[in-house]
Amino acid sequence: MSDEFRHPSGLDSGRYPQGWPGRARLVLAVIVLAASLFPQSIGGGQIKAVRRVLLFNDFSSISSPGMAALDQEIVTGLAISPYQIELYNETLEATLFPDEASQHSFDEWYVRKYADRKPDVIITVGPASLKFMVESHEASFPNTPVIFCGTTEEMLDRLKPDSYFTGVWGVAQPEMTLIAALHLQPDTKHVVVVGGVGTFDRSLEAVTKESLRKYESQFEFTYLTNLDMPALLERLRRLPSKTIVYHTSIVEDAAGAHFIDASQSVPMLVDAANAPVFVTDDVDIGKGTVGGYVVSWSADGKVAAGMAVRMLEGAKPQQIPVVRNSDVYMFDWRALHRWGFKESDLPPGSVVMFRELSIWERSKWIWISGLLIILSLALLATYLHYGRAELRKSRDTQVQLSGHLIKAQEKERSRLASELHDDFSQRLALLAFGLQNTEETLPDSPEMLKQTLEEFRHSVIELADDLHNLSHQLHSSTLDTLGLVTGLRSLCKEFGARQGIEIDFTSEGVPHTVRPEVSLCLFRIVQEGLQNLKKHSGTKTARLSLRNIGDKLLLSLCDEGMGFDANRLEKSGLGILSMQGRARLLGGEFEIHSKPGKGTRIEAWVPLEPAADPLNV
């Protein structure tokens, strides 16, 4: 049970000579605070009966973190009361003003102060407050029930509360802390108990001594409880190995210096000690101490508040039995770590505070997020991959489809051409022959008949010519019969003659026999290229070359005409698409190079032995 202070009341009395008006202001402030904590009492719309609760503290909340925690629980606990609570708060400052004269004058003052405001319940927090109330209750606050907390029974010495008292005893059990410490550090040989000379300090020291007495034969015990702070710290720096330190409370040292135990004494001890420091109450944990089987002041406050609420509702103190609060094993993870203690050696049910997250725990969300992002990217990549594969597949399908179209078209052209040539032309020729025969076998027929038959024959031959031309346009018999080079030369010549465009055709190393699908592909590309040239170039000359390079045939058709923007190729018509389609179908490539005003060059290369499904025409 730690605590202490350093208190403002001396300061206050400097500013306010009597000291007490300052205290009155403090009380007022507490009332205002209480009002704000119980909003329903203000805004509830119904007027509640007023009940007065007087809270006696050994130390002010400012000077004792333990008291502060306890007071807070009391204020919170009283909030459930159906009454309008007027909360008065007095601080005994027993440590700062321990002399009898001061305490006596306090006593008189409280009696005067509350003569006209009799509290309905008094709550004492700490051993000094309880002692004071036990001694002065009958005279100063007769018949007022008292609830005590924040103290152990041992601290009351031989005083016995009467029937107006009930409350909660804190239970300090230093031996339980020692047992836990021995589990953590089994080779312990020395136990050093540190403490101060204040009233509270001495009370706690006495409790501790009593509790540890039965272990005195097993370990070497040293009580550093009569030193001034500097001397104590010096001793703590030179402790032998295999030592544990048990801290009680230091609110005042041997030199008369006062300390706030939890926030001033404890950190100094921990800094100095070369051994683990165990403590008595929960507010001493978090400053570098290991922990222990600690008293929880806030738990005491909760119990006391509950009792106060019951009393305000009419319960007599005698009807509310005194309780003992059980302590809790509580440890600081960081200190355990510092001293190499294993969590597995802690007593079952231990509370471990200030646990630092492991690298994994600290970064796991980063990793999980990272992993999720990677996973998402992988999914996206897979999706895109499949998307691309799908695209490629559909492009392949498209090429295949256009291949089929071209194939079908060529087949049909070929069929028509064959039919025209093989049958119609022949039959017409035969007809012409027959007509001529008839003409000759009618030597005596009138001249008119002869003339008519002759004209008839001419018409038939003209018709045959037209049919032949049509057949030739559909499918070049020259190409089929005489091969690619001759076919192209013939095409250039015919086209040149028809369009007035001179085409310079050269060939280099082209085999005599070229597979029909390759011949036809290049032939059609030239046909289409020449059509484009006629339509767009505005030129009267062009060059066509066909070369055998390696296992490919390279076709190039150039002009020096107007050209166009090759970047807008995608808008080009069916002609270019079909040239491209034909070349790709055989595993070749097709390119157009052109700039406005700089002429046009189309290039196509096709393997001599295409691997792909050839045009079976």
């Binding site: 022949q426 020729a429 035969l430 001529q436 031959i461 010519d465 030739h472 020259t478 019969t481 013939s490």
Partner: protein, 132 residues
């Protein structure tokens, strides 16, 4: 008088009949064929003086058949009888070694002179185009 021996090849039945009739009047038609391969075979076995052949025929074209016949050592003269009227065809036939090129539309007046010219080692080419 010994009539020149002629081998005739054409895949068009009706025209073939007309051609055969025309030729038989003046020559000894020793054999016939309806495709390029048959022509090669007949030419090798019959050793005709003149071969009158269509160009576009199944299996082998007349020009291809002619190359094979030449390869086998035949000295038969070639006269092509065809509906093709492109110069490329004429050139291709002449390059291959044919002496005559007759368009079927004009065979009535051109075939005899062409065969006779071929027998004399001279060339004869029908006027290309439709006019008689």
């Amino acid at each position: 008088m010994i009539r020149p021996r002629v081998l005739l090849a054409d895949d068009h039945v009706a025209l073939f009949e007309a051609e055969l009739a025309l030729l038989s009047a003046h020559f000894d038609v020793v054999g016939t064929a309806a495709d390029g391969a048959a022509l090669v075979k007949e030419a090798r076995s019959l050793c005709p003086d003149v071969i009158v052949s269509d160009i576009s025929m199944p299996v082998l074209t007349g020009i291809e058949a002619m190359r094979k016949i030449r390869e086998s050592g035949s000295r038969a003269q070639f006269v092509f009888l065809t509906v093709h009227r492109e110069e490329e065809f004429v050139e291709a036939c002449m390059e291959a070694g044919a002496l005559g090129y007759v368009q079927k539309y004009h065979m009535k007046q051109d075939l005899m002179p062409a065969i006779l010219a071929a027998l004399a080692g001279q060339t004869y080419v029908s006027k290309l185009g439709s006019s008689p």
